[in-house]
Amino acid sequence: MALKIVVTAKRVEDPESKIRVKPDGSGIVTDGVNYKINPFDEIAVEEALRLKERHGGEVVVASIGGERSQTEIRAALAMGADRGILVRHDGPLDPVVVSALLAKVVEQEKPDLVILGKQSIDDDQNQAGQYLAERLGWPQGTFASKTESLESEAEQKKEPGLVLSADGKALTVVREVDGGVETLELGLPAVVTTDLRLNKPRFASLPGIMKAKKKPLQELAAASLGVDLAPQVVVKRLSEPPARKGGVKVADVEELWKKLHDEAKVL
């Protein structure tokens, strides 16, 4: 029951980096900022690898961006993915364009499953997977999670949270929604987006990193794919939110109570 899976690996600012806006509001200051795979995409790669380990198949990593996005593809290959596709595009993107380009990758690869992060931590849009599913006419399982905690035995054993049916034609997805947890069954092919608690991604091993250098990485020029590359969602200006002033430290519970009761009047 081999599964062919396409996963995404977007290059984003490391979440630990301090993000500052340029004085003219045209972008963010990139000096001293580190880059890595979007953490949700890392979870997508991990899930794809676990599914492959259980069912066999192939994991193809796709990224859209400039030449430097090769680094993130190689990082996913070092985790264990089989080969990469870089859709070369320099310049701004939005989920409309990204999903159109990913649909071209899907057309080429014809996978059973596409797994993306639920959102990228730079633009925080949470859209690309859903757009892609609609473009393809496929079912979607967003915010995929699993029942067990990230410290459970199943997680230690690296079991996939996505469960393939016995006939290999459907996938059961546990989703994090407001007010509880929902379980859906999706007929394959399908699109899944990952939430934080689907798994704990593995680290790349040194042999993995060495092997990754030799794995195939195909480059496609975005401009040659017949997709309108003009972003429809345009960021006009960036600014920093008003800073919240730190307040005072109180000596004890007595003083805290007084402050909340008499000064802030919230209790």
Partner: protein, 320 residues
């Protein structure tokens, strides 16, 4: 026509309050563009909820069918897209809940529309609307323009007031639903996280616990119950399986803006702050005097939460 369509959310026979906040965002947009406000209500057996929505002055379109019992994006998106076309909507929006975020991008793709997620407010002049939204975990505010004829968005409920009944009452229209053929999504189960406490995103007071609780949320819950507050948690506490996922506050959890937010044993990672820094008053209780949470807390108490929280709980009880 620059009409506005807001997609309502319901569950357990009730409208979700976030919908009323989205409606007031829709009303503000309609006032800007000179269009009318419409609401789409989908589900099974939802017709009785339509009157409450119509009371806000909106025209309500009800799609009531067994095939729409669960909010499956691929079943709902075509129905919403048809309603949007039929009512000439140039703007289609919803609350930025899990359902709104799952559904609206699919609707947008169907309408050939660009979309803005988690909108905090509207800018621009007159009918030339721009959308203000957070990026990089709320560390950056962006002003975004959508170039497509139809514009789709979700709004952060805490940034808009709940819609009150309007001057006039809108009409209720029944929508004939075509059951989508060949649907490959099946709803299997929903496991509700039941709580006697107020809903996290709507509570006036939220008490949250993090890694510092070491898995013992009793003092956090006791203080919350004394205050009639909701309980929240940091990602660390949720990942460890100490509390349900549904309690997570932060960039990837829920965004709250209560009058009072008490962070106990939470260091204050950027991702957590993104979900609570809109709170009016923030209290931090942490053993580590250098915890980043103290940089944004109005009142910080360097103390062991296992002593401080029960003491504060007693104070609250004694004052009643």
């Amino acid at each position: 026509m620059s009409n506005v369509l807001i997609v309502a959310e319901q569950g357990g026979g009730q409208l979700r309050k976030a919908t009323l906040h989205a409606i007031s965002a829709g009303r503000a947009l309609a006032a800007r563009t000179g269009g009318a406000l419409h609401v789409a209500l989908l589900g099974q057996g939802v017709r009785p909820l339509a009157d409450a929505l119509a009371a806000t002055g909106a025209e309500v379109h009800v799609a009531d069918a067994p095939a729409l019992e669960h909010p499956l994006a691929d079943a709902w998106a075509p129905v919403i897209a048809e309603i949007a076309k039929a009512c000439g909507a140039a703007y289609v929006g919803a609350a930025a809940t899990a359902q709104g975020k799952d559904l609206l991008p699919r609707v947008a793709a169907r309408l050939g529309a660009g979309m803005a997620t988690e909108v905090l407010g509207f800018g621009g002049d007159g009918a030339a609307v721009t959308f203000r939204r957070p990026m990089w975990a709320g560390n950056v505010l962006a002003e975004v323009e959508i170039a497509t004829p139809v514009k789709v968005f979700t709004v952060r409920a805490t940034e808009f007031p709940a819609a009150e009944p309007g001057a006039g009452k809108g009409a209720v229209h029944e929508v004939a639903v075509q059951v989508p053929a060949g649907l490959r999504t099946r709803h299997v189960a929903f496991r509700e996280v039941k709580s006697e406490r107020p809903e996290l995103t709507e509570a006036r007071v939220v008490v949250s616990g993090g890694r510092g609780t070491k898995g013992d949320f009793k003092p956090v819950e006791a203080l919350a119950d004394a205050l009639g507050a909701a309980v929240g948690a940091s990602r660390a506490a949720v990942d460890a399986g100490w509390v349900p996922n549904d309690w997570q506050v932060g960039q990837t959890g829920k965004v709250v803006a209560p009058d009072l937010y008490v962070a106990a044993g939470i260091s204050g990672a950027i991702q957590h702050l993104a979900g609570m820094k809109g709170s009016k008053v923030i209290v931090a209780v942490n053993k580590d005097p250098d915890a980043p949470v103290f940089q944004i807390a109005d009142y910080g108490l360097v103390a062991d939460l296992f002593q401080a929280l029960p003491a504060l709980t007693e104070k609250v009880k004694a004052s009643k």
